[in-house]
Each structure stands twice: as structure tokens, then as C-alpha cells.
């Protein structure tokens, strides 16, 4: 049985006391992380194992919670830089999420032109959602036209955080930002909806790499930002298995909860059961047990 690899790379120098990101440390973390994950010595070779210069890459970030509990722009821009160094044309990279205003609020550089790194929301007037309804298992939604028509592969760039309904919001749940009606799929801890959505071929087939922003982690009170439950973790988590990454992510949240005297997700009644559903034989999106996951931890 081949295990799913998850690499956690951390450096407490990546954040200053005021939580400012040190870009060069972050870049080193990314390079080391992706190399370790892929087994390639050079990060460029590592990236080329997943992406080719012909690809148009979507980088799906999560900006819904605003500053403090969203993907840091520095993380996305850093990885975009590494992609560029690996031979991907800058204009073939699209950082995207639901809306321009949410991207802009975080400081992402909006750009929908034919040169430079592209960055825009689904709500851009010429983009929008599909006209056709995507009906799949328990999901009936319109899909963002970005993964449908603009990109052929994705870099999933979630932020790791607690979620008061789902338990955890990370790689799998990030694609709630790709549908028009996520509000309809939060009942029952988002289960089985998160798993169902990720089995849509238009999402599943574009999955290559997940670069999870765990520099700071909202371990309680999420998905909104609450500074008193938000802790520096100084980490980036890398995998190509979104289930394994979410499984490891949920453990990190539980560790932070226990460290800070809060009950675990399970004791709080929000165990993220959709992660297990995503691993079942009907969904088969990845691995969700310690025996099936190879967790590599690196401290820089």
C-alpha cells in the first residue's frame, strides 16, 4: 500500500513578533518542502513533476475571513515565483477566489490582463459561474468558470483553520469557494457535501498539489478571525492528497486546542467527519488514517 505523503515544514523565523512574513525564509521553506515532498533535489525539478509549461494553473486561495484567517498573499506570491522559476509563464498563473473585493482586501494584486501574474475573482464581470447546473451526488451548484474554462490544473492554497460547523476548513473545503451556493452545504458538519463536491471531475481532475498556509492557525472560533484563538504555527503543509492533508491539519488544530486548554474538535462536537467520508470507497479522494499517511516534519 502506497502511503500518502504529507510534509510539514516550519521555521519560527518566518514570522516576526508582529506577524510580518520574512519572504526569504518563506521561500526557503517552500523550496525545501516541495523538494522533500517530491524527492527531487532541486525545487524546479520538483515542481515540474506536477506542472508543465503548457499548463494554465489556478491557485485557489481562501480569503473569505479577511486578514488573520485567510491565505496570506505572500504565500501565494512566493509559490507563484517558484513556478515562474520552474518555467511556468507568469500569465499562465491565476490566483483566484470568489470575489475581487475579498482578494483586494487582503492585498492580492488584481490583474486580468494579458501580461503579468493574473489574479481575479469569479465575480469579475466576464468570468462568473457556469450557466449549467452541476448536479453530482448531493451537490447542485453552478461552478466558477475559472476552473472550468481558464485553468487545466490547480494549486490548492488553503489556510488551515477551525470551522465552527465543519470542524476544519482546509484543502477539501477550500473548493466551497468555487460554487455559487456554499451556504446550502453547511448542514450536518458539511458532510457529505465537502466530499461530494471534491469528487466532481472538474475539481478532482485538476488536483495536483496543495500548499497549505499554516503560518498562523485559527484553532478555535473559526472560520472567522479571533486574535485570541489564533496562534503562530510557522508552518507550510504540502501534499497532493487533500484528505491526508486535512487529516493532518485536524490533528494540528487539536494539538493547538489542547495546548491552549480548549477541548478537542471531537469533544466540541465538531469532529470533521467529512474528511472520513472523503476517504471512503465511494469518494476515494485520499487517505485518512495514520497508517496510510507518511508524515514528514522538517524544522528549518
Amino acid at each position: 500500500m502506497k502511503k500518502s505523503r504529507v510534509v510539514i515544514i516550519r521555521s519560527n523565523k518566518v514570522l516576526s513578533k508582529s506577524k510580518q512574513i520574512n519572504s526569504s525564509i518563506l521561500s526557503e521553506m517552500m523550496k525545501k518542502g516541495i523538494s522533500t515532498f517530491s524527492g527531487e533535489f532541486d525545487f524546479r525539478d520538483a515542481i515540474r513533476k506536477f506542472y508543465s509549461p503548457k499548463d494554465v494553473l489556478g491557485m485557489k486561495v481562501n480569503c473569505l475571513a479577511g486578514k488573520g484567517a485567510s491565505t496570506h498573499p505572500e504565500v501565494a506570491l512566493c509559490f507563484a515565483g517558484l513556478l515562474k522559476e520552474s518555467g511556468i509563464k507568469e500569465n499562465n498563473i491565476i490566483i483566484w477566489d470568489r470575489s475581487n473585493s475579498e482578494l483586494e482586501e487582503l492585498g492580492f494584486p488584481l490583474n486580468n490582463k494579458r501580461n503579468g501574474l493574473r489574479c481575479f475573482g469569479t465575480d469579475t464581470s466576464e468570468v462568473g459561474y457556469s450557466r449549467d447546473l452541476y448536479q453530482h451526488l448531493n451537490i447542485g451548484s453552478l461552478l466558477s468558470r475559472i476552473p472550468l474554462y481558464y485553468t487545466n490544473v490547480q494549486v490548492n492554497l488553503p489556510v488551515l483553520k477551525d470551522h465552527s460547523l465543519a470542524g476544519v476548513s482546509c484543502a477539501l473545503k477550500n473548493f466551497y469557494g468555487a460554487i455559487n451556493n456554499p451556504n446550502k452545504y453547511h448542514d450536518d458538519g458539511c458532510d457529505p457535501f465537502v466530499a461530494d463536491l471534491n469528487t466532481l471531475p472538474e475539481i478532482r481532475n485538476q488536483n495536483r498539489l496543495i500548499i497549505c498556509d499554516a503560518l498562523t492557525v485559527q484553532y478555535k472560533g473559526g472560520p472567522s478571525y479571533h486574535p485570541y484563538w489564533n496562534e503562530e504555527y510557522f508552518g507550510i503543509i504540502i501534499s497532493s492528497d487533500p484528505v491526508a492533508l486535512d487529516f493532518v491539519g485536524s490533528q494540528i488544530i487539536d494539538q493547538l486546542r489542547q495546548k491552549n486548554g480548549s477541548p478537542t474538535l471531537e469533544k466540541s462536537g465538531i469532529f470533521p467527519k467529512y474528511i472520513l467520508t472523503a476517504a471512503d470507497k465511494n469518494h476515494n479522494l485520499g487517505k485518512a488514517s495514520l497508517e496510510e499517511i507518511e508524515k514528514l516534519e522538517i524544522n528549518l
Binding site: 473569505l64 464581470s125 447542485g140 453552478l142 465552527s164 451556504n183 446550502k184
Partner: protein, 383 residues
């Protein structure tokens, strides 16, 4: 905000709102009796920010919505299930106040109301959003959308009443999507309409908490409830709701004394078990009385149930018979134009009181709310 000229308005109302509506059953013919610069188009994305009327503030900027039985607990920057109410720093806002995504002057029979001002028009409006997710929804393009995803027309309550008056509409109908989710807008339109002599009717699934319902009914004149089924399973699996709150809503309407009618959309294989229909009719009789009109309407394959056929007319007729045998006095069949059960019959002398073909009145044998043949008093709002 862009002011529109009449010609531009027609263009937008067909290609904008109409485009959003897609294949919905809402007519795309624009409302005709409007002044030249009456409307303003709000580009997709502009939202209102009016504080919600029914919610409770919790710790850590979280809120609990008290409008509908879902009682969503919503964190900062998040929205409730309806998709049109948002928590912004611990204050809950409706995002659709004054932003109608569609409007039309409809026959009141289209709602359907058969015992409420027959033969009149209702200026009908909707906003995006719904607090259910029915797999058969005929207007899912707006009901399951967020307000950023629809073209919205800035129609203040004053404008709504003004256009209702100018179009000779006897009433304003809150309809098409789910009016409960634009509660504050509906409430203000109804209040203003009442002052100006325009009645208000709500077409709803009845998924609302008692307190807001009671306040609302002080301003409304009639309510139509879409009674989805008489089983918990159907409400949970097909509508993502619960049955009990709807039963409570119906009992509350009875207690309040407002005029109301019930529609039952019969979906083949899902809610057409005649034993359940019999149970439902008995519940209606026991709890609401024999005079509440019930309309059994025909399902058309839509949204997430395109795999099912049209409801056989024979099923509707069976349900009609069961309801009549149960003692309900005003039972109708809908979405089958020309069917004899579209008409209202006198429960005493059995003659046609109001003849109908589709939404058209073909006969009117009602005088001052009584059968003109035998004098039987007929329940309803007649003038």
C-alpha cells in the same frame, strides 16, 4: 447606480433579469405601465446593508438568526443558509432590502389565490435567496442564488407601491423565491401599501418563526403556503427543511385569522402516496377547518429532479377526490389548464361560482361573497 430610460429598461429586464431567470416559469414580459425613468438597474454585486430585525447577538461577534426555524448561528463575515443575510462585525444585515431581482404584474390566480380578489392583478416581486433548497424548485436560478449573482433592480418600498398603483394592481405579491428571506423589505412594502390602499400577499413555504410571522401578518392580507409534503423524510431529503415548523405556521395563520390558501405540488414517486395525502387532508380538517382552499398542482421536471415525469393528471384527480371525501370544501387542481377542478364550486348547490381557464376568469357567480344561486356564504376576501 445607473438610471435607465424606458427603452433601456426593457432591454435590461429582458436580457438582464430574464437572462438570470433562464428557464424559469416566471414570465419575462416586462411590466408595462411604468414611467420613463422609473427604474434603476443595480449592477450585479451591489448589496443593501439594512440591519435584520430578528436576530440575537452572541459572544465573539457571532449571531443567531431568529427569523426562520433554522436559527443559523453565523460568525463574522459569514452568511446564513439563505445566502442573503450576513454577519458584519457582530451585526446581522439583510443584503437584499430594496433590491428586487424580478418583478411582474401577475394575475392573482397565478400565485395561486382563488379566494382572494379574483380577477385582479398583483404587482409581484422577489429578491434572491431562499431558506430551503427544494430539489424541484421552479425558480432555482434566483432562489438558490446569492444577491451578487442576480441582476437587481433598486425598488424602494415607495416605488413598489407606486408601481402597483400605477399598474392598477390591487395587491403586491411577495413571491417567486422565498419572501421570508427578504422579510424587512416585505414588511415595509406591506406597511406602506396598507397606507395607500394596496393589499399585500405572501407566497411562502411557511418556514418562519412564530414571532416574525405574527408581526408580518399585521400588515399582510393573505398568505399562500407551499405545503411540500406530509412526511418528515420528504422535508429533510427533498427540501432540506423540517415538517413541524410548517405545521406550526399553518396553525398560527389559523389562529391569527388571516386569509390563507395551501398549495401541494405533487411530485411523482416522492409525495404522491395517497395514504399520506389522506392523512394530510385529515390534519388540515382537524387543525385548520374545512374552508381552507387546497390546490394540488402539477409538477414539471426542474432543477435537481429533471429525471422525473410530469405528474399524471390521474394522480391529481385522486388527491382531489380524497381531499373532498375528507371534508375539505374547496379543492383545486392546478397547472392543468382547462381542468374542471380549476373552478370554484358552491359547496351547497354545487354550481360553478367562479369559472376559470388557466389564469382567466370565465364566469363570476359570486355576489357580495355569496353564491348567487343559493346564497351560501363563501369564505375568502372578495373585495
Amino acid at each position: 447606480m445607473k438610471k435607465l430610460r424606458r427603452r433601456e429598461f426593457f432591454k435590461y429586464s429582458l436580457s438582464g433579469a430574464g437572462g438570470v431567470l433562464g428557464s424559469s416559469l416566471i414570465s419575462r414580459v416586462p411590466f408595462l405601465n411604468v414611467p420613463d425613468t422609473a427604474y434603476a438597474l443595480s449592477s450585479a454585486g451591489r448589496l443593501s446593508r439594512v440591519e435584520a430585525k430578528y436576530y440575537k447577538k452572541l459572544e465573539h461577534k457571532e449571531i443567531e438568526c431568529l427569523l426562520c426555524p433554522r436559527k443559523c448561528k453565523v460568525g463574522d463575515r459569514e452568511r446564513g443558509y439563505c445566502g442573503v443575510r450576513e454577519n458584519q462585525k457582530g451585526i446581522y444585515y439583510t443584503l437584499v432590502y430594496g433590491l428586487a431581482c424580478t418583478f411582474h404584474n401577475d394575475p392573482i390566480e397565478k400565485k395561486p389565490f382563488f379566494h382572494f380578489l379574483p380577477g385582479t392583478n398583483a404587482f409581484s416581486i422577489a429578491t434572491a435567496g431562499c431558506n430551503l433548497n427544494c430539489k424541484f424548485c421552479q425558480n432555482w436560478e434566483i432562489s438558490q442564488a446569492r444577491p451578487e449573482q442576480t441582476y437587481n433592480f433598486e425598488l424602494s418600498p415607495q416605488s413598489v407601491v407606486e408601481y402597483a398603483l400605477k399598474g392598477n394592481s390591487s395587491s403586491i405579491a411577495y413571491t417567486y423565491s422565498e419572501p421570508v428571506v427578504f422579510y424587512e423589505y416585505m414588511l415595509d412594502c406591506s406597511k406602506l401599501g396598507k397606507e395607500k390602499g394596496v393589499k399585500s400577499v405572501m407566497v411562502s413555504a411557511g418556514y418562519i418563526e412564530p414571532e416574525p410571522l405574527i408581526e408580518l401578518c399585521k400588515e399582510l392580507d393573505a398568505v399562500k403556503i407551499d405545503f411540500k409534503a406530509f412526511t418528515e423524510k420528504y422535508y429533510q431529503e427533498i427540501c432540506q427543511g423540517k415538517l413541524e415548523p410548517v405545521l406550526e405556521c399553518l396553525k398560527e395563520l389559523k389562529r391569527i385569522g388571516i386569509w390563507y390558501e395551501i398549495v401541494y405540488l405533487m411530485v411523482p414517486t416522492l409525495n404522491d402516496d395517497m395514504r399520506n395525502i389522506k392523512k394530510m387532508c385529515q390534519w388540515i380538517l382537524n387543525n385548520l377547518g374545512p374552508d381552507v382552499p387546497i390546490h394540488f398542482t402539477r409538477f414539471t421536471p426542474m432543477y435537481l429532479l429533471k429525471n422525473l415525469p410530469l405528474t399524471p393528471v390521474s394522480s391529481l384527480e385522486k388527491a382531489h377526490k380524497i381531499a373532498q371525501e375528507s371534508g375539505l370544501r374547496f379543492v383545486y387542481i392546478g397547472n392543468v389548464p382547462g381542468h374542471k377542478a380549476e373552478s370554484t364550486y358552491c359547496p351547497k348547490c354545487k354550481k360553478v361560482l367562479i369559472g376559470r381557464y388557466g389564469y382567466t376568469i370565465t364566469q363570476m357567480n359570486l355576489q357580495m361573497g355569496r353564491c348567487k344561486f343559493c346564497g351560501e356564504k363563501i369564505p375568502g376576501v372578495w373585495g
